[in-house]
């Protein structure tokens, strides 16, 4: 079963990895510890064959939102959803269960500061009923 993990954050300004830039100041040692935590998790899910794809997203400041109305595209600066939290990055996983996907989500440092959303990806297969 495939899942999209959406990593949300509330940045002052964008910095990757996304969890390094939260509301509190981190000492270099803390930054390093958190970086290790994050990289360890990514290595683990890549090694287990669960990680399909992942990427950090650029600052919302340079995001464009496109709306086509009456055939005319209108382009505005900034994200579609106007909120304090923004989508900072994503992971596409293939896991045995939603419990496993949830467990991985909980281990992103970001989950402690903002939130990680677990969205099942629609499957092109199905049973007749």
């Amino acid at each position: 079963m495939k899942y999209l993990l959406l990593i949300y954050s509330n940045p002052v300004n964008w910095e990757h990895p996304m969890f390094l830039n939260q509301d509190e100041e981190l000492t270099p040692a803390e930054r390093l510890a958190r970086l290790k935590e994050h990289n360890g998790l990514v290595e683990e899910i890549a090694g287990s064959g669960e990680l399909i794809d992942a990427a950090p997203l650029a600052d919302p400041l340079i995001t464009r939102t496109v709306r086509v109305r009456d055939g005319v595209p209108g382009v505005t600066d900034g994200p579609f959803l106007d909120s304090k939290e923004h989508l900072a990055g994503y992971f596409v996983l293939d896991c045995d269960s939603v419990e496993r996907a949830t467990e991985i989500a909980a281990r992103f440092p970001d989950a402690r500061y903002s939130a990680v959303e677990v969205r099942p990806i629609m499957d092109p297969s199905g049973f007749e009923m």
Partner: protein, 416 residues
């Protein structure tokens, strides 16, 4: 793999036997399995051009052994050179099995490998991937395409699975009778998962996908041949044959899922049905009954009906009651409720669903809403059925199921 037809069948059949021979010589499952994979890839490239070699098994063993030696350079390579010379001698039992024998040790090797790949230390997805590669002779790329994930991810999953098997002390040795009894259900479950993965795949969505139902049936046939007295292996094979028989009828021209009751029965595969029915009848008569056999028997009763109205629902209901005793689980209860409704009316079925609302395995599951919707529709309660269909449609993660459920909701006549 560009290779198709008989050459590919031959490769798939030889793969576990070649692997068994290599492991017996060099011992390490992990590296031998990699070497066989490379030999299979080399065959897929060379055989279509140069023709199938006279001794295909020996050819594969030679190439795989060369890959193994390439992998061990320096001192190790020097030490292995003598072994390589020995390895190049044709292997009699693989080249020319005695008349009437199915490759001798090859068959035992396949069973041993099947048990190794379905090691209980592995998750179902890992068991499935490893089985398809080491026993099924599929390439990583083919398996990855079948599961719609990148080849890199699948490669990682397979190599991790092999490490796990090793760490858990898994060895290439024929399973004891006790191991067989303990682990046969795991092997059957893996073959069942492979079958379902192929069966539920939307036809035409990806023409490059290997046919996992055919692969599952082939492997289950092998299992059944190796353990002819095991009722559940026979039952699983019969269930697969009888389910696969409906394959062509299960989707409409627009890719829409067609429920059993609305399928064009003229499109059911009579050959598979005949084979499946003969197998399940033979098995039920002599083996202790188990869940796969009962499910196969249910499928057989469905396929014996010329039209949906001819379905022998009382017999199906009896079989579901038996299945519920053998293998109590909420998904069985859902199907049981449908059979109950067909015999004793929709309200009886709806009553059976009530406990499932408080069962955490089914509460909020789309299948519970879908079955309830269906029974409410039968009862003529269209408004409630509409709500339940939409609740199911919102909860499924399958695109074709979602489409089917929304369509069922939309075609209900609603008051006002």
């Amino acid at each position: 793999m560009s290779i198709t037809g008989p050459a590919e069948d031959l490769l798939r059949r030889l793969a576990p036997r070649v692997l068994g021979t290599l492991i017996r010589r060099y011992g390490d499952f992990d590296t031998c399995e990699d070497a066989v994979q490379e030999a299979l890839l080399a065959a897929a490239v060379q055989w279509p051009d140069q023709g199938i070699p006279d001794h295909p098994a020996t050819w594969l063993i030679t190439v795989a052994t060369r890959r193994l030696t390439d992998a061990h350079r320096g001192e190790v390579a020097r030490r292995r050179r003598e072994t390589l010379a020995a390895a190049l001698t044709p292997v009699d039992e693989l080249v020319s099995p005695a008349p009437g024998r199915d490759g001798g040790t090859g068959v035992d090797d396949t069973l041993t490998l099947l048990f190794l790949c379905c090691h209980p230390a592995l998750s179902p997805t890992a068991q499935t991937a490893l089985t398809l590669r080491a026993v099924g002779g599929l390439t990583t790329a083919q398996i990855a395409r079948a599961f719609l994930i990148p080849e890199r991810t699948m490669g990682q999953r397979i190599s991790r699975a092999k490490q796990r098997v090793k760490a858990a002390g898994g060895r290439f040795q024929p399973p004891s009778e006790r191991d067989v009894a303990d682990r046969l259900p795991v092997v059957q479950q893996v073959l069942y998962l492979i079958f379902n993965e192929g069966y539920t795949a939307t036809s035409g969505a990806n023409l490059q996908r290997v046919d996992l139902t055919a692969e599952a049936i082939r492997l289950t046939r092998t299992l059944h041949r190796m353990r002819p007295d095991d009722g559940e292996s026979a039952g699983l094979l019969a269930l697969q044959l009888l389910t696969e028989a409906r394959h062509a009828a299960r989707t409409g021209p627009d890719g829409m899922l067609v429920p059993l009751g609305e399928q064009d029965r003229g499109r059911w595969n009579r050959e598979l049905i005949a084979e499946g029915i003969a197998l399940i009848e033979r098995t039920l008569a002599r083996a202790p009954v188990g869940p796969y056999q009962v499910q196969a028997a249910i499928a057989a009763v469905h396929t014996e009906a010329a039209t949906p109205d001819d379905t022998d629902w009382p017999q199906i209901l009896g079989l579901y009651q038996l299945l519920q005793d053998l293998w109590p689980n909420p998904i069985v209860t859902l199907n049981h409720a449908i059979a109950l409704a067909m015999v004793h009316g929709p309200q009886a079925g709806l009553d059976l669903l009530i406990p499932l609302d408080s069962d955490e395995r089914t509460a909020g599951h789309h299948r519970l809403h879908a079955v309830r919707a269906h029974l409410l529709e039968l009862a003529g309660e269209h408004t409630a059925a509409h709500t339940a269909y939409l609740a199911a449609a919102r909860r499924t993660t399958s695109l074709p199921e979602q489409r089917y459920l929304s369509t069922r909701a939309a075609r209900l006549p609603l008051p006002g």
